[in-house]
């Protein structure tokens, strides 16, 4: 009853093709943005911002990146962790060489390095498809992991082998480094993620998104319609890696505050892939759902039993997470291969006609 579109007529095509064609959706997104930008900073504590919201946003961005490549363009990639790493190390080197430049600019720019590396490792996609391409991305993953450890220049020759994040400021306020407050970091991450999500939604609704989906659905037919396969696939790798690179840079600079190479190991690739599968392949909102579920699940598993007086050891919580995530993936693939995003769509559909059944 609340969700009806009655009376909302589109009078031009632009309105029909808008991101949120329905008024209730527009109100909804405005509310969410209000909560995110205003309410949470006012009421949020360190834990909420640092341990929940910031990583959720960062993983959502990485999931969007992978979703563009695997969900929209149909190119399975197991190299997400490594591409995130390229962004992080690129950011470190950029800010080491040019410390006076605004760190946010470098975070975004580091995405370009990831994009280049991603496109390079995407070259085989012209000849190779499906599972085989996944193995090619594994080559990228393991090779880059090796680079992160064996090329000391990348981590500024630090003795520990880890990235040490220097202090950087934005308009006089510390943004990275130990003195940056979680609120500052949260607002920076939030802004970047909101803008990049908007850009991603522009891409997928337009010509490029259609080209990717055509290649995904039937690349032979895509060619016959005049789509150039190699360019389209390379663009998908480049854009996807850009997003993952920015996410990686934010992860190190705006969340962890430092990192060792194993942060970008293959486990990270799997984690993001699961977010995308459960959240919904080929949807942007699914990236958020998936990140929320997979990231928040272990936290919930640790906290909820503790709230009831039955504490679980962190190791056990982590193992339970593995089991639950594994089961969830299988269950989702059986019940709703299109993931949480589709469930959300079905839910909205039911809302449209509620309280009537159909």
């Amino acid at each position: 009853m609340l969700y009806r579109e009655v009376g909302q007529y589109k009078t031009n095509y632009a309105a029909d093709m808008a991101v949120f064609p329905i008024l209730q959706d527009r109100i909804g997104i405005a509310v969410i943005l209000l909560v995110a930008f205003v309410v949470l900073p006012l009421i949020g504590n360190d834990f909420l911002l640092n341990t929940v919201m910031i990583p959720f946003l960062i993983f959502s961005l990485a999931a969007i990146g992978l979703n563009l490549l695997t969900g929209y363009a149909g190119l399975l990639s197991l190299g997400t962790g490594a591409f995130m790493g390229v962004g992080a190390y690129a950011c470190l080197k950029l800010t080491t060489f040019f410390p006076q430049v605004n760190i946010v600019i470098w975070i975004i720019a580091s995405g370009l390095f990831s994009a280049a590396v991603g496109a390079l490792f995407g070259l085989p996609s012209l000849r190779i498809k499906g599972f085989y391409l996944a193995v090619a991305t594994l080559a990228a993953q393991f090779f880059l992991e090796w680079c992160f450890i064996r090329v000391p220049w990348l981590y500024n020759h630090s003795v520990s082998g880890a990235i040490e994040v220097p202090l950087r400021k934005l308009a006089g306020v510390p943004v990275t480094g130990p003195t940056a407050t979680s609120l500052t970091r949260y607002l920076v991450v939030l802004s970047i993620v909101v803008v990049m999500t908007w850009v991603a939604s522009n891409l997928v609704r337009g010509r490029i998104g259609r080209m990717w989906m055509s290649v995904r659905d039937m690349d032979l037919a895509a060619e016959l319609v005049g789509i150039r396969l190699l360019r389209t696939k390379l663009l998908a790798f480049a854009v996807s890696s850009f997003y993952c690179g920015v996410a990686g840079a934010m992860m190190v600079f705006l969340w962890y505050g430092g990192a060792e190479a194993d942060v970008f190991a293959i486990d990270q690739s799997f984690l993001v892939l699961f977010m995308v599968i459960i959240g919904g392949l080929g949807t942007l909102i699914g990236s958020f759902f998936g990140a929320a579920l997979i990231y928040i699940l272990p936290i919930a598993l640790r906290m909820i039993p503790a709230a009831f007086g039955l504490p679980i050891r962190p190791a056990v919580a982590e193992q339970l997470t593995f089991v639950i995530v594994g089961v969830l993936i299988i269950v989702f693939l059986i019940l709703e291969p299109n993931g949480l995003a589709r469930l959300w769509q079905i839910g909205k559909q039911k809302l449209r006609v509620w309280p009537f059944p159909y």
Partner: protein, 318 residues
């Protein structure tokens, strides 16, 4: 001028001047290759019969080994533990068929592939929960597996062959031979080949797909158990094995996804190639190139021969 020499001449000179090291490296490569082949064998079994690319094969190896060791740690005598583990693998096969394969029966390959990701994580979590995450020692002695090494003095130096590795190679060969005979000669083997060829045709002659799938996943489970025992006996039983098992993927690319001889040949090529590469060319790059060399070799193959060494050329019909 120095670099080309280092890449193209020096390694071969080294090979020539220290043949004992070369033989040692070749042997180490062979041993690793045998183990990769066994993992790839499990993949091939399942893929041939059900078209499912079982990403969980690696973790099945770990899980089987863990079960064996875990049972023994709780006081079960070695060979009884072995029997019980076989039963556990059977139960796993039945569970997978009923709860994962049957509900997903008409879905695309990618969906089934992703389901095996879920299975992987489930087994990782379950294994860690039940048996603990720390590395364990394989009960090699209790299973009467050989111990120690055979050492040769010769070829200008010294070559050491671990007896357990020789045993692994022998057992792997026996296993491949048994599987080959099984596929060619028995009724069930014939049914398996029929299912691998065409599910619908097999159904129409009365072959039960479900039974076949249970058998095939069980066979893969037994192969996984054998691999786990051998691998665990050489080093230890730990979850890092799961990542090493990913190396079976380059093996499959070389050998094709449906060829048993392909899995063997591919495994040997990757194993030997990797070890030679690491030993002779690795130092040029700072070492540790084993972690990615296999994948890059496979990538190279894919670019020139997308169907692998043994696979069939894919002709797309529209």
């Amino acid at each position: 001028m120095d670099l080309p020499y280092k890449i193209f001449v020096d390694p071969f000179v080294q090979m020539g001047t220290s043949p004992d090291l070369l033989v040692q490296t070749l042997w180490d490569g062979l041993v690793a290759g045998v183990l990769y082949s066994l993992i790839a064998l499990g993949f091939v079994l399942i893929f041939k019969a059900s078209g499912v690319f079982n990403f969980a094969q690696g973790i099945m190896v770990v899980f089987a080994a863990l079960t064996l060791v875990g049972l023994h740690q709780h006081g079960v005598p070695a060979f009884l533990a072995l029997g019980l583990t076989v039963v556990v693998m059977f139960v796993l096969a039945v569970g997978v068929e009923r709860l994962m394969l049957r509900p997903l029966v008409n879905q695309s390959e990618i969906i089934l592939f992703m389901a095996t990701f879920g299975l992987t994580y489930l087994l990782i979590g379950l294994g860690q929960l039940v048996f603990g995450g720390d590395p364990k020692v394989m009960i090699a002695k209790e299973l009467y597996l050989p111990h120690g090494a055979i050492e040769f003095k010769g070829l200008g130096g010294f070559v050491s062959l671990q007896k357990i590795d020789i045993a692994a190679a022998v057992i792997a060969s026996i296993m491949v031979a048994v599987l080959a005979i099984f596929f060619q000669r028995t009724r069930i083997g014939r049914a398996l080949r029929a299912v691998a060829d065409s599910h619908q045709a097999a159904l129409s002659v009365g072959i039960s797909l479900e039974q076949i799938w249970v058998i095939v996943w069980f066979a893969a489970g037994v192969v996984a158990l054998t691999t786990g025992i051998m691998w665990g006996a050489r080093s230890e039983v730990s979850f890092s094995l799961q990542i090493i098992a990913l190396k079976a993927l380059p093996v499959l690319i070389l050998g094709g996804f449906t060829s048993i001889p392909g899995a063997i040949v591919g495994g040997l090529i990757i194993g030997i190639g990797e070890k030679l590469g690491e030993f002779y060319w690795g130092p040029l790059l700072g070492g540790g190139i084993e972690s990615w060399l296999a994948y890059v070799i496979a990538l190279g193959f894919l670019i020139f021969r997308p169907q692998g060494l043994f696979g069939e050329k894919i002709i797309e019909r529209i």
